[in-house]
Symmetry: C2
Subunit: 485 residues, 2 copies
């Protein structure tokens, strides 16, 4: 809480390695890729988020005198290295996928090209920020998908994993599709709609529920959304709300926005009953808001049951991504520059799909021209160029006999990674959060329904170019011949 300077927000081994490179006079330029291996929550895609905070972090990297004094106190760092840290700045290049973009496993979403001492420092904070916000943006997009166009409000601050998780989480939730948040600080900081009316304690602080409702409606003439489950939803809450709505109508002060909020009990049953009661009293345009430990599966089930709910407040399960509270982004060395050439590097693993993709790479997204939907992503070497004018042959890197031929004119191409920092200078301007949200909605429209569905979605292909595929196999062969270097 209250850390403007996040320079020390890093794992200790980054600093011991940095000193190691420094002492060893090793400061070759390297390439690190951020990518992830599995979509969270069984999703068919993820949403990338957090870049704006990564930019802030990179711009503000400075070891303060206090930081350096602390490091000196550990008796692990020599004076020459600590002196070097005084003027330490990030001087490299960063390429990244814009926030709100749909992403898939194994493709680089951030690429850092920098002297190894710098590239090593920034690993942990970049992963922390991107992992967190991508997780919550992805979860929010699933919850909003289940709500089928109804408004979903982010209500999770009290159960978020600390202040940042609440505030940056609300930002990510809005990017992923929420219409707003209850978190005032997040709304102020990121220019997002702020939402909410009253709690049970409001009702309980009055002698009776009717007086509490009346007082609230009187104070807020624009929005009388009344919380009806403090005592008994159908026998007390809804009848009292209807009484107040009648009084407002009679006095000619009916608010534009009014209705009830259900926060407990059987939401399917209660919403249908309450709808009937409101309709019978002539309040057809009263909205019914529901909250109560909701997630995408419960909302989907309530929709299937015909629940009469118009908008949704989602807390704990969204702000923590409860069924999958971590996004597995990793930061892996892809190449080291020696005498002006990038030497590709590969990390072995017992699991074939865990082996990294070597070299300096870029990512093309391939769209079906007619529908605008994503056909596949293609990871290529950075020196390769592809043109929509030519036919394109794709193959599955795990099962190379699976091939797809795309005719020229039937597909379009887009490069996903855009420059964010060049030579340490920020060259990218982050859009406003509500604009990122809008862009994210368009991005989600490029997915086929089969990829968006909540359970057992269709996987989008992420293919390797023939050049990259050959390089990867060659490096693997060499490693085996050389007995693992």
């Amino acid at each position: 809480m209250g850390n403007e300077n996040l320079t020390l927000l890093t794992d200790f081994y980054e600093l011991t390695m940095m000193q190691g490179y420094f002492k060893n006079n090793t400061n070759d330029t390297v390439i690190f890729d951020v990518f992830y291996r599995t979509n969270p929550s069984g999703s068919g895609y993820s949403i990338c988020a957090g870049l704006d905070q990564v930019m802030d972090y990179i711009k503000n990297i400075r070891f303060s005198q206090e930081d350096i004094a602390y490091l000196a106190s550990l008796n692990m760092f020599d004076k020459d290295f600590l002196d070097y840290l005084v003027d330490f700045r990030f001087t490299g290049d960063i390429y990244a996928v814009p926030e709100g973009t749909v992403i898939f496993p194994m493709e680089p979403i951030v690429k850092v090209i920098a002297p190894i001492i710098e590239a090593q420092l920034v690993e942990t904070a970049i992963l922390n920020i991107i992992n967190h916000q991508s997780l919550i943006a992805t979860k929010a997009s699933r919850v909003c998908y289940a709500a089928q166009g109804d408004g979903v409000m982010e209500f999770g601050l009290r159960r978020a994993q600390g202040p940042d998780a609440g505030t940056l989480g609300a930002r990510a939730a809005v990017i992923g599709g929420c219409i707003g948040t209850s978190n005032v600080l997040a709304a102020k900081q990121y220019g997002m709609p702020v939402l909410g009316t009253h709690a049970h304690s409001w009702i309980m602080s009055f002698e009776d529920e009717l007086t509490a409702f009346r007082t609230y409606a009187d104070l807020y003439p624009d929005n009388a959304t009344l919380l009806v489950d403090t005592y008994d939803t159908l026998r007390s809450g809804v009848p009292n709300a209807i009484t107040v709505f009648k009084e407002l109508k009679e006095s000619g002060t009916m608010p534009k926005k009014y209705g009830i909020r259900l926060d407990s009990g059987d939401l399917a049953y209660l919403s249908k009953k309450a709808r009937k009661m409101l309709d019978a009293a002539g309040f057809h345009d009263a909205t019914i808001v529901a909250s109560s430990d909701l997630d995408e599966y419960l909302i989907d089930s309530l929709k299937t049951q015909g629940a009469a709910i118009d908008s949704w407040g989602v807390g704990t399960n969204l702000i923590t991504s409860k069924d999958c509270p971590a996004f597995g982004g990793v930061y892996k060395l892809a190449a080291i520059e020696k005498e002006g050439t990038f030497i590709p590097k590969i990390k072995l693993s017992e699991n074939q799909w865990k082996i990294t993709n070597p070299g300096n790479k870029k990512v093309y997204r391939i769209y079906d021209k007619e529908s605008g939907k994503i056909k596949a992503d293609l990871i290529t070497m950075s020196y390769e160029t592809y043109s929509e004018e030519n036919p394109l042959k794709l193959f599955d890197p795990m099962a190379t006999w699976k091939k797809t031929y795309l005719k020229a004119g039937t597909y379009s191409l887009r490069e996903l990674l855009v420059p964010i920092f060049i030579d340490g200078k920020c060259v990218y301007e982050s859009p406003a959060v509500m604009d990122i949200r809008e862009y994210c909605q368009q991005e989600l429209n490029t997915l086929w329904d089969e990829t968006r569905r909540l359970v057992n979605p269709h996987d989008v292909y992420v293919d390797l170019s023939n050049e990259l595929f050959q390089l990867k196999n060659q490096l693997l062969d060499n490693l085996n011949v050389n007995g693992h270097n």
Copy 2:
């Protein structure tokens, strides 16, 4: 990130209710209790944490000019209320359980006594902070229990839910029993040991593994813990590590602390094989550190399998409390002062165990005098006094025929809630984190083994005094008679 002023870290409805009370000239003193209903991760207990950050938050509550301008821009708040916020301070009392204390469901762990406008504002931030840190401290205590006295290191920053979750989470993890963290910022900020050596990228940045190991051992003569799984653990990593250890021994520069770290593969098999290889080479005191998606169940299983692991690095599953990423602390109205007397309030629910405990309360912990272990907790009215000199009769509030009689002299009593703020002034000094950790270890020793075990632990009784039990039933009866007010 970077919010020194957390005053707006609140749900919007707190502010609309605050204005409601203000406009309605209602600012009675009220009592709110923070309590929770279920221990996370199937635990038999929880560890309370986060109080120091709550204290910082309460002390620093100030609506800045910028905050007030933002609220004004929403067109929901009147000038008189916004003017009132300019000098707004917290003027009430707060009682809380000290950090590191073992706690159980349903008992108040924080009690706020303040004018309702103030008590309402602080709800969300108090819950956010206490929920997060109590969650992680509890999880850490479980992981450390499984490790049976081996050191457990907190390594989760890159997968934490944002910067605060990493840093405050590391604080909570150390309170719960971890010996240190890899998070440099957290270690600096909270005076905790910082730990770590090198990553795979260090190994990969050299021509070969042996050179990478040699260079590292040469640079850090105090701790040669070498990461051995970059290429092939048993065929390359461990033999190369042994080569380096032999060289160090021959040159008379053997570090006090040395060994290997396993970060992938079958940890039971690899650790036993590696142990044999190290022993055969005469390196009996080389330590084996393991990391790789560990949690309390995996560590417990590795222990059962006789894995030769001496210390443990735990990341994602601890820092997110992956199997249960939210602590369900709530903030419920317990009483409202009218003409100098607290009128108890109760919140109904369809579920009997979700009904709140009314009135101004305190909590006694009852210890078995002989063993020092906890016998039960007893929630009483604040005006009641109990003495160890008298016999004590306890009964189960859900099954009142279950009774326990304690003879005088066989038990001891302790009041759990201590004053933190009185009339808005902080009267409590937080111990250093490493001292809270020490206290927490003592606290855990007051639990019976049956309550500490990981699966199906024995629940500790949290009983109500007869006075409180009668009051609760009387309020419930009244509510039923009056048709829910």
